[in-house]
């Protein structure tokens, strides 16, 4: 499962993939004085994974790790610099103009900030009508019927009371239901949820997550759930991958990753996630020192090495780590799991377990 440059390839769909991300690079060009070239921001730097119909995958990572760029590229809002996204047999790098527009309309998009995601000058009815109008549902009755159906599904009733309202008249949870309804109104096969509950009150988070889970099951949706908060991940995905500085550093089944994280960064991330337990107030949590690396000049080899507590000089900063399959379907992109390294430095294992 290793390719030449050490990027992780995650394939578990046996050729029945709805979405295929192939060695995706999304680089933004930096300009000097508005025209001179000054390098690239490597927001996404070689990511490969598959997603089958009806499957959910979570993507975690801290701010600035490239998860938003990855998501926007999957949605067709960014152009891949290198590599490709194939969704429903349409290759993103080959589509343009009207085809690109159609590609976009087949993927539902749920945003983080429900109030910002809804145009404040449109009524709920108008907001839900827009995708339908744009995508050629010209019949007013048909539009109303579909809107009513989806509002029923997201439990935003009574419909006639909700439709003439403006977004600011709804609560945060209701707004997010509208966002979900808008994402679902075109009957997409894939839903991209970008931190769908992080801006909501804790009291409505679970409801929204349950709603998403229910929609996923009833519509057999593929879902990409993007978050920085590991405490909400458990609710729905089977698989999870961790991103750091534009690369995938660990991939596993949900339980495997949460219960037995391997990569030092995953450890740090799990330690930082909040868990409402009063005892935690007294626990000292170690967070990785330093800051996320610059994506313009990322550190050589393993991008985590400047912050890593198990940094092995001469190895981590020289050679790109390959992926090691520590257990079935659990891949980690770290030299600590190289059998040779483990053999030569038995202590490292105990160090790892102590983290």
């Amino acid at each position: 499962m290793n390719n030449d440059n050490g990027h992780m390839e995650i394939s578990h769909t046996n050729g029945q993939a709805l979405l295929q991300i192939k060695d995706l690079h999304v680089w933004y060009e930096l300009k000097r004085f508005g025209f001179g070239h000054a390098g690239y921001v490597r927001a996404v730097d070689g990511i490969t994974f598959d997603l089958a119909q009806g499957e959910a995958i979570a993507c975690v990572g801290e701010s600035g790790c490239g998860k938003s760029s990855l998501m926007k590229t999957i949605l067709g809002l960014n152009i891949p610099t290198k590599g490709d996204v194939v969704f429903d047999d349409t290759s993103l790098s080959a589509t343009k103009g009207e085809e690109l527009r159609q590609y976009r309309s087949k993927i539902g998009y749920i945003q983080q900030d429900p109030f910002g995601a809804l145009p404040p000058f449109m009524t709920i009815e108008r907001i839900l009508e827009e995708p339908l109008m744009i995508n050629g549902v010209t019949d007013k009755e048909e539009r109303r019927r579909r809107i009513a159906k989806i509002l029923e599904e997201v439990k935003l009733t009574p419909i006639n009371e909700v439709l003439p309202k403006y977004p600011h008249m709804l609560s945060g949870g209701q707004q997010q239901r509208v966002v979900i309804a808008r994402a679902m109104v075109m009957n997409p096969k894939l839903l991209v949820a970008d931190e769908p509950v992080s801006m909501l009150d804790a009291s409505v988070r679970v409801e929204i997550l349950r709603l998403l889970r229910k929609l996923q099951e009833s519509h057999n949706l593929a879902v990409i759930y993007i978050t920085h908060d590991l405490s909400t991940v458990r609710y729905f995905s089977e698989f999870i991958f961790v991103m750091y500085a534009g690369e995938v550093i660990e991939f596993a089944r949900m339980e495997d990753l949460l219960d037995d994280p391997k990569h030092p960064y995953t450890h740090a991330l799990l330690d930082a996630s909040s868990d409402p337990n009063a005892d935690n107030a007294l626990v000292y949590r170690e967070i990785p020192k330093g800051e996320p690396p610059s994506l313009v000049n990322p550190p050589p080899a393993c991008r985590f090495h400047p912050r890593c507590p198990h940094f092995m000089p001469g190895l981590c900063d020289v050679k790109d780590p390959p992926n090691f399959e520590v257990s079935p379907r659990h891949l980690v992109n770290c030299w600590l799991y190289d059998p040779e390294v483990q053999a030569t430095n038995l202590e490292s294992i105990s160090v790892n377990n102590a983290v």
Partner: protein, 453 residues
């Protein structure tokens, strides 16, 4: 975010806005009604007309409302026309061919001041022999003064002031050397100095018609020192024509210019921000260059060298204003709106570029733009007036600015014709005030943060 209608309803809580709205409503009503009561071509014909149209109007008469503010009752215009059925007309045969037509025009003259002019207009139809008219003036105290006689061709006017024999006769009659005709005719001999004798005067005219088919019409005009609601100018034209027609022109110019400039500026800013890159850069550079090009000198240049048509001026004003400095202001907001999650969402469900610009970017800025449009109107109304005052007004249209220009060239203030400048200026100020008051109130309604300031 409230609907536009709700926001406009909020205006009711601002008294200044209510006054402003009433002013705007009146101006709009006048603008709409004027073309119906006086069609465009009729207004142009009247305004360009000479003595043929304005002959019976006094020269440089003040508006009639002046009498409300003064203790002396200034003479008003009196017109007696036999065609209109005024006066007593009796026709009798003198011989087989000759007939005598007696016109007796009786009128009440209650004013305290002398009329500036007296004229008899005569119109006759005949084959070869012109009818002949002889006139006698009968004062309220019974004195009879022979005015004079004249032969009537098709359109003849007898101007009392210009008749030397009548003037000498009145000198003898009143015993005052160099007395003018009007003074002589209306003077009260019982009083010291020149005083109007109020009462009922009569002008008896005897017309002799020398052909059986001949006809004669007479009209007597005693010109007033005040006339109508707005007064008259040096060409006897009624100022109300220009004041009335100036309203729709000022409104049309102001509203069209304000609306077109703001809307186009907004769209340019939105398109620039949305597409970005070289297009945005080009728009920014054009705006910067354009903002240092002075508008008025260019208008003066075009007006002097090319055309003074109001539509050319309007087009030019719009053209030079669309790359106005407001683009920077709108751009700053659009740049922020462009990054809104809802724009991403719209792109994600497949909205095209134009749809995003017009349905997602532009509506966000409307709260800012609507007050701007209203506040900009007076500026353009004043600009149009300024051009007219500078002598670059439309050569055909009667406008407020044109009146001020005429007044200035005729030395109105030096001659005491204050109303000539006062009326158009007050209308300009009221129009400006109305729009400004509504605009500022709208600003407060749409941008609530301003309320704290």
């Amino acid at each position: 975010m409230k609907t536009l209608l709700e926001r406009f309803r909020q205006l009711r809580s601002y008294p200044t806005a209510v006054i402003g709205l009433i002013i705007i409503a009146l101006l709009v009503i006048v603008s709409v009604v004027t073309p119906f009561i006086m069609p465009y071509n009729e207004a142009i014909r009247l305004w360009r007309g000479g003595e043929d149209i304005w002959g019976r109007y006094p020269r440089n008469a003040a508006p009639a409302w002046q009498n409300w503010f003064t203790s002396t009752d200034v003479s008003n215009t009196i017109i007696l026309d036999s065609v209109e059925g005024d006066g007593n007309v009796t026709i009798s045969d003198l011989s087989a061919d000759t007939r005598e037509a007696r016109f007796s025009f009786e009128f009440d003259f209650p004013y305290d001041t002398f009329p500036p002019e007296l004229t008899v207009f005569a119109n006759a139809r005949y084959d070869s022999k012109e009818p002949f008219v002889e006139m006698i003036w009968i004062t309220p105290d019974g004195r009879e003064i022979r005015v004079g006689e004249f032969a009537v061709s098709s359109n003849t006017s007898f101007r009392f002031n210009q008749d030397d024999r009548l003037q000498r006769r009145l000198e003898r009659e009143t015993g005052i050397d160099g007395v003018s005709v009007v003074h002589g005719l209306f003077d009260d001999p019982a009083q010291e100095g020149l005083q109007v004798l109020p009462g009922t005067y009569r002008l008896d005219s005897i017309g002799l018609l020398f052909e059986p088919e001949s006809e004669l019409d007479l009209a007597f005009v005693s010109y007033g020192e005040v006339h109508g609601v707005a007064g008259t100018d040096h060409q006897r034209r009624d100022l109300s024509v220009a004041l009335l027609w100036g309203t729709p022109i000022a409104m049309a110019f102001g509203l069209l210019a304000a609306l077109a400039t703001t809307v186009i500026t907004m769209v340019i800013a939105a398109v620039g921000v949305w597409y970005g890159g070289w297009l945005d850069a080009a728009i920014q550079r054009i705006t910067e260059v354009n903002s240092i090009i002075p508008l008025l000198p260019i208008l003066i240049m075009v007006g002097t060298l090319y055309s003074r048509s109001i539509w050319i001026m309007l087009g030019l004003v719009i053209l030079l204003s669309i790359f106005g400095i407001q683009i920077k202001q709108y751009r700053a907001i659009f740049l922020q709106v462009k990054e809104s999650p809802y724009i991403d969402a719209a792109r994600a469900y497949g909205a095209g570029n134009m749809r995003i610009v017009f349905r997602y970017l532009v509506p966000r800025i409307l709260p800012l733009v609507i007050p701007a449009i209203v506040t900009l109107v007076p500026g353009f109304v004043f600009l149009e007036a300024s051009l007219a005052v500078l002598g670059l007004g439309d050569p055909v249209l009667p406008t407020w600015g044109k009146l001020i220009n005429d007044a200035a060239t005729q030395g109105a203030l030096f001659n005491g014709y204050y109303y000539w400048i006062l009326q158009p200026s007050v209308l300009l100020m009221i129009a400006g005030l109305g729009f400004a008051m509504v605009g500022f109130a709208l600003d407060r309604v749409f941008n609530p943060r301003l309320r704290e300031v």
